[in-house]
């Protein structure tokens, strides 16, 4: 601020003399973020610390018996419990299948629906409908459609000569079915994010490229995709984190089966906490999940930094 400009009004508010601009900014910043920070501390940080404490105890919510066991829950999960690694594997497979499929489909839909044309609003709503359909209704319908014999999916496959598997009763196919149905249900959200991002890309860039004779694919690869990179990163992070937390969809579709083939970590944690009431063990599992997801997130951010360079 130029002192020579005598018509400017002095700054209101923090008129404490001697406080530098930087200091003032810092105080204002902390004040403005204080509701978020205080609320976060009470309703998340506190409970998180509590969860870490619980994770070091054997605590049954029903019997109220609590005994401190140090890291026993962790060693139990990682070394003794045979189920844990199967569950971990399922979670990783689920995420690895869901995230690329979701993002690719979201992008494809967004590319189709980002330019205005007659009926675009209608279609955007249709592809968003699953997001607001109740999880229960969604599972009922898909379980019906995926029947081994009478299901519509297999009947359609049969009409082209393919013998479809009993989708929800074969461990591997069940995982595929659960992933695909989850993607269809949630892709509408990412689609909207991509549509918005696409709309900020100035048309001139695309036009210029096209004038130079680029094909659709080249335009996409050279112009659109790079400009979408930041969006892609955020969506990937959120979708990855979300895919590790999916529980109710799997619970309703397969109950974790068949043969625990779709038992993912979030489901396992639910079982421990809400069916067996073993809060201590569930807390340890949650902390393990937290560490893994945090690691994955940091990796994704690091990769992006590398890309930018």
């Amino acid at each position: 601020m130029s002192r020579a400009n005598t018509t400017s009004k002095p700054a209101r508010g923090f008129r404490v003399p001697g406080l530098s601009l930087r200091r003032r900014e810092a105080i204002e910043a902390w004040l403005m973020t204080s509701p978020t920070i205080i609320g976060f501390a009470i309703f998340f940080l506190g409970p998180l610390i509590a969860v870490m404490v619980y994770s070091m105890a054997e605590w049954n919510l029903l019997s109220r018996k609590m005994t401190f066991v140090g890291l026993a829950n962790y060693t139990d999960a990682l070394t003794v419990n045979a189920d844990f690694w199967q569950v971990m594997g399922n979670s990783v497979i689920f995420a690895a299948g869901l995230v690329p499929l979701n993002m690719a489909l979201a992008l494809a839909l967004a590319l189709c629906l980002s330019r205005p044309f007659f009926g675009v609003v209608f279609f955007r709503t249709i592809f968003f409908a699953p997001v607001v359909t109740s999880a229960v209704a969604w599972a009922i319908v898909w379980k019906f459609l995926l029947q081994g014999e009478a299901g519509a999916v297999n009947q359609m496959l049969a009409s082209v000569g393919i013998d479809g598997p009993n989708w929800l009763r074969e461990p591997d196919w069940a995982m595929a079915a659960v992933i695909v149905t989850r993607v269809i249900k949630m892709v509408g959200l990412n689609m909207i994010l991509y549509i918005a991002a696409l709309q900020t890309i100035p048309r001139d860039y695309e036009e210029a490229a096209r004038l130079e004779g680029a094909t659709h694919w080249q335009v996409f690869k050279m112009v659109i995709w790079p400009l979408l990179a930041p969006t892609t990163l955020i969506i990937m992070v959120i979708t990855t984190i979300g895919s590790f937390k999916v529980f109710d969809h799997i619970y309703l579709m397969t109950g974790g089966g068949p043969e625990n083939g779709t038992l993912v970590l979030a489901f396992y944690i639910y079982q421990q906490a809400f069916e067996f009431f073993e809060v201590g063990y569930a807390s340890a599992l949650a902390i393990i999940m937290f560490v893994i997801v945090l690691a994955l997130t940091l990796v994704q951010f690091a990769l992006r930094r590398k890309q930018v360079r």
Binding site: M1, T36, F44, V51, P230, M289
Partner: protein
Amino acid sequence: MTTKQWRTLNRVLWTVSLLIAAVPFVFPFLWMLSSGFKSASEIFGQPSLIPTVWHWENFVEVFQYQPFARQYFNSVYIALSVTGLTLIIASLAGYALARLRFAGAGLLMLFLVSALMVPEEVTIVPNFFLIRWMGLTDTHLPLILLPVFGPHGVMATFLMRQYFVALPKELEEAGRMDGLTTLGVWWKIALPMSRPALAAVAIITFLFSWNLFLEPLVFLSSLELFTLPLALSNFTDPYGAPLWHLQLAATSLAVLPILAVYIIAQRQIVESFAMSGVKG
């Protein structure tokens, strides 16, 4: 074929393909709506979209079974409160994180992001004890406080931050030169410019609060205080088996407002997500 004919053919093919692709998306939704009109025995027969007999009385029975209208109202006002509070708090913090430089900003953001990574099945236990200690069980307050200040609030803060970062600084600097404090700039300049982002956060937050199940289950006891997801799971016979015709009719009623809001605000959402500078 002329270019015009080619273009029309193209458009028709495009539309038809989209319609075919849309079938798996919209079929369950339509089934859910039509099942509300079916009798209990018909629902699990062939999944037809047209009921053989239109049981309009299902919808009447929904309101007679439990204080459904009251529960509907609960969900609405809680969602509106959560949305309103989140918008204010998230935009305040988001603006600070975007514009003001202060020590610890990076670390703070890392802390906040980590909130998204812990499943709520586990944090609900200590939260339950906390709310109990505060004496707030069987009230709606925890249903408002937890979404606003919990992981979802954090995500909202980040969205707002991204948007503010993308805003051109000139207007704000002009405001400063006019003598406004940071708060003044926020209120008079940044917020009005960020209406699309606010709309986006509003939609997601409303949807999030509308669908909450675990928190109401754990904190509420009185039937009149229930919110919709809880009320929906309560349409059961004395043995706990769901009364599907009632549950699906009620679910259809519960879904329509959100869909209506989405359709209306769709324009805003798209623009706002664009402006939310999700470019990082």
